[in-house]
Subunit: 261 residues, 2 copies
């Protein structure tokens, strides 16, 4: 039976997250429902990352086994015809029978978008965190980069997690200057709005880890802590020491990287 690797994009605003829940509509549930209709039998879909309610994806990756022999582009069209427009299979490819979307993932890229200005654009309301306070971007950039490398990220892990180790490696933790655009300057040259985009690439992420990092970076941007305080927050291994969890709406799972599969 052929195994497929699916690349999926979704606007997570109106869903309970990737994973099936007791109630509410999940991305996994929508995909499994569409595939069951197509394949005439239950199909299990495994995602690379379990995005939370309200979190978006540009390149979530999933694996599934179907009984029917079907060409990847036909499968893409057939699934998409059974999904709401907020969820799209962007690509399907036949995969090695041993491929597992979660266990084989070597790195994931997330981006977090912050709208920094008095008034948030109507086009960003579902896709960015609106922070009206003046932010010290230089301090945020310095703090972000000091997280690169292998660390114990227990300070940035939400309660209720059952992972054995909270050590993770971040290959990249930066603000993308390309995203720092001035969208609008008012007539008096006074306030201006900018879109900040934080990008993080890691070999794995703890529960709410990216949002806790961003919440902490924003506290640094607001001047509550100096940039180098983040190293001590990591060392403390205490969630209560770090900043709040940033809202889900700004977070995007951008890409999942696999080896030579």
């Amino acid at each position: 039976m052929p195994k497929f690797k699916l690349t999926i994009a979704y606007d997570g605003t109106d869903f309970v997250g990737w994973q099936r829940q007791a109630s509410g509509v999940s991305i996994q549930g929508l995909l499994e429902h569409a595939l069951e209709e197509l394949d005439g039998a239950p199909v299990s879909v495994t995602g690379a990352g379990r995005t939370d309610a309200g979190v978006h994806a540009l390149g979530q990756t999933a694996s599934c086994v179907v009984r029917r022999i079907i060409a990847p582009d036909v499968l893409t069209r057939a699934i998409n015809a059974r999904l709401p427009p907020e969820v799209r299979v962007m690509d399907a490819a036949e995969a090695d029978p041993a491929f597992h979307a979660r266990f084989d993932a070597q790195a994931k890229t997330y981006r977090y978008r912050i709208w920094n200005g008095d008034v948030i654009s109507p086009f960003e309301r579902r896709y960015a965190w609106h922070v009206a306070d003046r932010l010290d971007l230089a301090a945020m950039c310095t703090a972000a980069r000091s997280l690169e490398g292998r660390h114990d990220f227990a300070s940035f892990q939400s309660a209720g997690s059952t992972v054995r180790s909270s050590e993770r490696t971040l290959m990249r933790s930066r603000f993308l200057t390309g995203c720092t655009v001035t969208e609008h300057t008012d007539a008096n040259g006074g306030s201006e709005s900018r879109l900040l985009c934080y990008e993080v690439i890691g070999d794995g992420f703890l529960r709410h880890m990216v949002r806790a990092i961003v919440g902490t970076l924003v506290e640094i941007g607001r001047g509550r802590w100096p940039a180098d305080r983040i190293v001590q927050l990591v060392a403390s291994r205490d969630r209560a020491e770090a900043g709040p969890t940033a809202p889900a709406a700004g977070l995007f799972l951008v890409d999942v990287r696999y080896g030579a599969l």
Copy 2:
């Protein structure tokens, strides 16, 4: 009584357009309602351009007179507090008492976004026209540029219009190469998706003119007509000769330019 110039952004998806209608929610209606609540008396709001149902704005401009003496940033916050998040006053500035948002507009910039690929991203479904056919972008660029200058655009004007002259000057009519990004290439290197962005700046626009131009450019992209056919379509001054009207969702009123006001 102070006159204000408002810069307004809106996601037009769920509205009947800028102008008040017998039924349905209009942007003008929302603003006038918010201002009446604030000012304690009916306030008339004049927009630079009457965008149609489903058309978006990044920088619609409007003028209004209020009775209360109020600082522009206080006015911005007060109006926004009375608007749905799909509509935002991005800026307010005090204007010359003679300022008229429509009559004083010297140029308007529109952009039209086309998603060209098999599967449209969930983030573009409200903001772009999905054209799955392969498009000859070089031909579309040539045709677009040949519309620059002063022409009679009767071929691109919808019925029901009552303007005296259909002559308009386009200062710019181009595809922005910066918007032509490859969003996704599939595993087989086969199909790829790209976002095309057409930008047009003119001293005025006829009813549905931008969307009729884009509908025609896409017909050229599909190979129905050669690029130089667009010059003949203009010369014919016959709406039936040109291509169909492109959907509203892809169109954005980006900017309205005024003189030394």
